[in-house]
């Protein structure tokens, strides 16, 4: 007899060939050398300063980018929340719309804007201010990352905040809380699920990005993504690339685990 469950078979095939086997493939390549013999050298390659420094630098930039996004998005969420649920559709529309312009182009636009002779500097000079010379520096890379990933921080936070029952806020006021305490005791803890997913959706891509650093770093800034891309596409070793990727994933997992721990502690430390 025909089984309804078997309808999922094509999908399972896709999961196997497109997710499970590829992940095992990375694991395999990371553990063997060119001739197929077992080795730990690929994983150990991360100890090479040429790899280690970009990894740590990526972590740093991703952390800074995530922190800035959070600091920008949380107050925005608070403000948009109060402007009423009726405008929800329009706010989301405004946040999603920029994504219909290719993100590489939008990043390149920053390169145009930030150039020594670019628009921003022209305006700064016109009002008598000094030029902003951040293009091809880590500052420009962070700016690009914040720009690209800010919507992914705003959307989940906003989505969670708009759902917080306003009577909870009123109840806190009713019990004597000041606006700051309402924010700290009620809105912040109840926004935590949104903040967590926002942080995840910002941290992982900024940690592993290579295009932004390539475009706005002018080739001077090497992040872990650039190293991996080089190993795979610019005549490096796939085995070393796989090994570094494995280590990078471990770092991401550790960061996420830490984040979850902070979340749990945060939930307890409400009052």
């Amino acid at each position: 007899m025909f089984k309804r469950k078997s309808l999922s078979l094509p999908y399972i095939l896709f999961i196997l060939c497109g997710t499970v086997i590829p992940l095992l493939a990375i694991l395999y390549y990371a553990m063997v050398d060119k001739s197929g013999h077992f080795t730990l050298a690929n994983l150990a390659a991360i100890g090479d300063p040429l790899h280690l420094k970009p990894l740590l630098f990526s972590l740093l930039l991703a952390f800074i980018c995530t922190a800035i996004c959070l600091l920008l998005a949380f107050p925005l969420g608070l403000m948009l929340r109060r402007s009423g649920a009726g405008k929800k559709g329009f706010v989301i529309f405004l946040l999603i719309l920029p994504m219909w312009m290719n993100f590489l182009l939008r990043t390149i636009a920053w390169k145009i804007l930030l150039q020594k002779t670019g628009v921003i500097n022209a305006i700064l000079n016109a009002v008598g201010l000094k030029s902003l010379e951040i293009i091809n520096t880590p500052y420009a890379v962070v700016l690009g990352m914040v720009y690209d990933f800010l919507p992914f921080m705003i959307l989940p936070i906003y989505n969670v905040m708009i759902k917080i029952d306003n009577s909870l806020v009123e109840a806190a006021y009713d019990l004597g809380a000041s606006p700051f305490r309402v924010m700290k005791d009620v809105l912040l803890p109840l926004s935590m699920p949104g903040i967590i997913s926002g942080v995840t959706m910002t941290f992982v891509p900024s940690m592993t990005s290579f295009a932004i650093s390539e475009i706005l770093g002018g080739g001077n800034i090497s992040l872990i993504g650039n190293i991996i891309e080089g190993e795979f596409l610019r005549g490096g070793s796939r085995n070393v690339g796989s090994g570094i990727s494995m280590v990078m994933m471990v770092f991401i997992l550790i960061s996420m685990a830490l984040l979850n721990k902070v979340d749990k502690n945060g939930e307890g430390a409400v009052v």
Partner: protein, 356 residues
């Protein structure tokens, strides 16, 4: 007893729609006052203005004689029990109750004692460490009340707090609330659309409709002496008939003269007459004041409900005695049970009946 709270000429509109129109209301100390009315009558807006969540367009709110119109809710000595409880989902029961006390900087021992006391008061001993989400609706309601009263407010505002509970639980909670009110000795202002709830619990009932106070008084006076057709239909079932006041204590309804007790309406003046269905007595044909025929019959448990066609009017009658459909009967009403009301003078006062 003085007024603890006074609303003076309060007006409020939302999106151009007038919700409250120059409302005046005095609340006496240590009373259980209920704002009763259909949805959209302005009762919740009134409560929110008292609580400080809504600012009136015009008018003042006085608390113990002091103007608090522009005081934010966190600075008011009032506490609210919200319609859907509004318990903080990320805090335990104890933390919820403690919240207001922590804000006002009370000591840990004081807070712990208060939590215990409050939980005992609402019959929830030993629930302090429970998760809010584990509680049933009725239990959440009790915690919401406990959270409000530990702050020792002088006035407790309750916004349809029993609306989400089932009938049995609601009746139990009504007794609980009366008991709490008596033990705490503070003023309760209670909002509901349920007339039975209002009559059961209140010292004073304020019937509202379309932003106006229709009538204010004890539950007995509201029920027995409704001042207009709206109050009469909103509070319980009633027969509202057009009548002619022939002279003091004599009214003509359906072509028959009835003796009543009301005076001062003048001579030959058109009036509305309210007769409660349980006050209509059915008799053998010819024995009463007005003959008719039973047209509908429903068994309601405590009584039978019948409709009787008599004098061109469909009378609603409640009686413990059954009369079958088609049976000829006669109606009788004792003078005390005939309530005379002025006819509405303007459109605004026209009786609006909204099913709730």
């Amino acid at each position: 007893m003085g007024n603890i709270l006074e609303l003076v000429n309060i007006s409020k509109s939302f999106d151009g729609e007038l919700i409250l129109d120059e409302l005046n209301l005095d609340v006496k100390e240590n009373t259980f006052m209920t704002l009763l009315g259909p949805s959209g009558c302005g009762k919740t807006t009134t409560l929110r203005i008292i609580g400080g969540f809504t600012t009136p367009d015009e008018g003042r709110v006085l608390f113990e004689g002091r103007d608090i119109t522009n005081l934010p809710p966190n600075k008011r000595q009032l506490n609210t029990v919200f319609q859907k409880y509004a318990l903080f989902p990320h805090m335990s029961v104890g933390e919820n109750i403690a919240y207001g006390l922590k804000i006002s900087g009370k000591s840990k021992t004081y807070i712990d004692d208060k939590i215990k006391y409050a939980l005992k008061l609402v019959n929830m001993d030993g629930y302090a460490n429970r998760d809010v989400s584990q509680l049933s609706g009725g239990q959440q309601q009790r915690i919401a009340i406990a959270r409000a009263i530990v702050n020792e407010p002088k006035v407790l505002l309750l916004d349809e707090p029993l609306g989400a509970l089932d009938l049995k639980l609601r009746q139990d909670m009504q007794y609980e609330l009366i008991r709490l009110k008596n033990e705490l000795g503070i003023t309760f202002i209670y909002v509901t659309h349920d007339q039975e709830e209002a009559l059961t619990m209140s010292d004073t009932v304020v019937v509202m409709n379309q932003g106006y106070i229709q009538q204010m008084g004890t539950p007995e006076s509201i029920y027995n002496e409704p001042e207009n057709a709206f109050v009469a239909t909103f509070i319980g079932d009633s027969n509202i008939l057009s009548g002619l006041m022939l002279q003091d204590k004599l009214v003509r309804i359906c072509g028959v003269n009835f003796i009543c007790v009301d005076t001062g309406f003048g001579v030959n003046k058109p009036v509305d007459v309210v007769i409660r269905p349980e006050d209509v007595i059915l008799d053998e044909p010819g024995m009463g004041q007005l003959d008719g025929v039973v047209t509908h019959l429903i068994f309601k448990g405590v009584h039978y409900e019948m409709e009787v066609m008599a004098g061109d009017f469909e009378w609603l009658v409640q009686s413990t005695e059954m009369h079958a459909v088609g049976e000829a009967v006669s109606l009788r009403v004792v003078p005390d049970n005939i309530q005379i009301m002025n006819k509405p003078e303007s459109e605004d006062e026209e009786a609006v009946v909204i099913d709730v």
